[in-house]
């Protein structure tokens, strides 16, 4: 498959740039189908990417684009109705098809996640410190006392004010931002190699969002973690990621280093997403550049390009033939028959 070939090439370019970069997580040709009675949902179709140590990959897409399903497939958190094929290798060992028992040992020390809604992912009946202690002792040989000490240390690390006192609080006594800090402390408890932040800041206020993202970047540097940041906000990706993977209809639409992507958007869908980001300084009452319609149905694999029914550039070829992933510039992969070749760089001059 061309997707696999493309990934190989992008790897070589990545190594060219910085010699020490290693792929911590390598996903190739990942497919996820859900069987619901006689219906099939084609949630993820042939997705390949790699995450480098100490780097951040942003997976961007609308709801239903398959970004969360991709991350859950890697974490082995999908329900039994999911049929997963393909490969996701974490430092060489295959995660897809791993037994639940083995996967449980991996989640935490190898790969951890921070979910969107901190109030729903914490146990409301347990003190936050105890939740972290539980997670530490599950994976590391530490006694209660040492684990508690470590928990307080972690809460301090995520900059929760007065961690000694706060670790005896219940989740409802904390604000949304503080709860998300606790979630991050929980995810970091066993120093994972890969951290998946699934819309980790979406439910938070803008000022809190900025602070949590800054915190995540700091911690990433400290622990040399690889990070996958899942979001629908291209603005966040621009500021906080090294590479961007744009998904649409369960497929890769465009995949490139962040700066390359923003300077030379090729896929019209990425362009449309970028134009829709709310911006300062647009005069009131100007019409936004938009596309009609909603996200594609995943009940069947679309014939042709999934975006063709909304795309302003679509031609007949787009509706009949699926565009393969191509790579004109090294490291910049996209699936489009009619790319915006001469796109004006987004970079501003003011």
């Amino acid at each position: 498959m061309s997707a696999a070939a493309a990934t190989d090439e992008s790897d070589t370019t990545a190594t060219d740039q910085t010699k020490s970069v290693t792929n911590v997580l390598e996903v190739s040709d990942l497919n996820v189908r859900f069987g619901l009675g006689d219906e099939t949902i084609w949630a993820v179709n042939g997705v390949s990417f790699s995450v480098h140590s100490g780097k951040t990959l942003a997976i961007i897409g609308e709801s239903g684009s398959g970004k969360t399903v991709t991350s859950r497939a890697i974490l082995g958190l999908l329900p039994n109705t999911a049929h997963v094929t393909g490969s996701a290798r974490l430092e060489g060992s295959e995660l897809i098809g791993m037994s639940e028992k083995e996967m449980r040992r991996r989640r935490g020390p190898d790969i951890a996640t921070v979910f969107q809604d901190p109030s729903r992912s914490l146990n409301p009946t347990m003190r936050v410190g105890a939740q972290i202690v539980e997670s530490i002792r599950l994976h590391l040989p530490m006694d209660r006392h040492a684990a508690k000490k470590r928990a307080i240390e972690l809460l301090g690390l995520v900059r929760l004010p007065s961690p000694e006192r706060r670790c005896d609080d219940y989740p409802h006594q904390l604000s949304g931002g503080m709860r998300q800090r606790v979630m991050i402390a929980l995810a970091l408890a066993c120093q994972p190699k890969v951290l998946i932040a699934d819309e980790a800041t979406t439910a938070l206020d803008v000022t809190t969002q900025a602070k949590i993202m800054e915190l995540l970047l700091d911690l990433q540097e400290q622990f040399k973690m690889a990070m996958i940041m899942i979001s629908h906000n291209l603005g966040l990706a621009a500021q906080f990621s090294d590479e961007v993977l744009v998904m649409y209809g369960g497929r890769v639409a465009e995949y490139a280093p962040t700066k390359t992507l923003f300077a030379h958007v090729q896929m019209p869908y990425t362009r449309v997403l970028l134009d829709a980001v709310p911006r300062l300084g647009r005069a009131a009452h100007t019409a936004l550049p938009i596309v009609a319609g909603g996200a594609p149905s995943l009940h069947q694999l679309p014939v042709g390009c999934a975006f063709s029914n909304r795309c302003p550039r679509a031609a007949d070829k787009c509706r009949t033939e699926t565009p393969p992933l191509r790579e004109d510039e090294p490291g910049h992969v996209y699936a489009c028959w009619f790319p915006i070749a001469d796109a004006i760089p987004v970079q501003a001059s003011r």
Binding site: D205, M213, E214, H232, N233, G294, A315, P345, Q347, R350
Partner: protein, 351 residues
């Protein structure tokens, strides 16, 4: 402008009595003395973090529940002085669109009934006339009545359902629509569609909006004027251009600096420079300026004396003892990229 504003709010106060964990009575000061106006045909944006009182303010305007004190004028009529029947008649002119389209409509009703309900509630027209009006507004929000009238909310996407909620708000031909985070739960592309719909309706029907959201970039791009709220009080009110080109209140600066810039070539501004810590409890708001506990510019005077709203430019007011100087504002603005207005590459989409 000497004309009467469409909506005028004067010194509005809203408080809620609650009990703390140990049963002690306490008062949450949700809105503390807010005055603002929405002019005919304009969009006034209200921006603030969760808990800043922006939704409470909107609801107090509609008297659900009635505010503790303060006055609300709709086209010069003081709503606080009306009896129930008169109030009901006046409030027809203000309609609301909420954040979550699915929880703001009855899941067991068909679209036609949801949209037609306000007409029935006010006993307007015959059945045929009502049906005709429902079809009309559905058409107006871009939903084909023949296709969508008989659907249930669960058969709609989020964007379509929000259109239904908008149709319901329009059916009584109001002059003001209050949008309370009306596009916040939608995907960016659907969000842009709905924003354009609001814009078209404004043009066609001469509507005014009170547009509430937590995202300053979003509010800025739809509003003529923007009011920034923090812990129940207004910090700064001004034309939306002034607010991002010449912000004067440190909290506005903090909000501006935390917007993720969709341009990777721009260096990130660190938010810590403008805001620190967590919001204090609304039960015991700080004395003086409520932002002082998180403000990098706070001095002794901020704790002792409450800053009052004062004019600082044309149509531009700020409540701060030590507002940013125009130079400091310029410096901040030059670090946050405002490229965006150029919208580079937009035309590139055409084949």
């Amino acid at each position: 402008m000497s004309t009467t504003p469409l909506l005028e709010v004067r010194d509005l106060v809203q408080e809620f009595a609650t009990r703390s964990i140990n049963g002690r009575r306490q008062v949450v000061q949700a809105v503390s003395g807010v005055s603002l106006e929405v002019r005919v045909g304009e969009t006034l944006g209200i921006v603030g973090e969760s808990g800043s009182g922006k939704s409470t303010l909107a609801r107090a305007v509609l008297r659900v529940p009635p505010p503790k004190s303060g006055q609300v004028f709709l086209e010069g009529t003081d709503l606080t002085k009306l009896d129930r029947r008169e109030l009901r008649r006046e409030l027809r002119n203000i309609q609301m669109v909420f954040q979550d389209p699915f929880t703001s409509v009855d899941p067991k009703w068909r679209v036609s009934r949801i949209v037609g309900e306000p007409l029935r509630a006010f006993a307007i027209g015959t059945r045929e006339e009502r049906d005709k009006r429902v079809a009309e507004v559905l058409d107006l929000v871009g939903l084909d009545p023949s296709m969508y009238s008989d659907r249930y909310p669960r058969q709609l996407s989020g964007g379509q359902c929000q259109r239904v909620a908008i149709a319901r708000a329009l059916v009584l031909s109001p002059s003001l629509i209050i949008c309370d985070e009306a596009v916040s739960s939608l995907d960016v592309l659907i969000q842009a569609q709905v924003l354009n719909l609001f814009e078209r309706l404004r043009e066609e029907l001469g509507l005014a909006y009170l547009f509430i959201a937590h995202d300053l970039a979003l509010v800025n791009q739809v509003s003529d004027r923007v009011a920034v709220m923090y812990m129940g009080k207004l910090c700064e009110v001004g034309p939306s251009d002034d607010l991002y080109l010449a912000p004067r209140h440190p909290y506005t600066a903090a909000l501006l600096s935390s917007i993720p810039d969709p341009d990777p070539f721009h260096e990130r501004v660190l938010t810590d420079q403008w805001i620190s810590g967590e919001p204090p409890s609304p039960v015991n708001p700080p004395s003086g300026c409520r932002f002082r506990t998180r403000c990098p510019r706070a001095e002794a005077r901020c704790a002792a004396e409450e800053p009052l709203m004062h004019d600082i430019g044309t149509d531009h007011q700020v409540a701060c003892h030590f507002p940013l100087t125009p130079q400091e504002a310029d410096e901040l603005v030059s670090t946050i990229s405002t490229n965006a207005s150029d919208d580079a590459g937009e035309g590139a989409l055409e084949p």
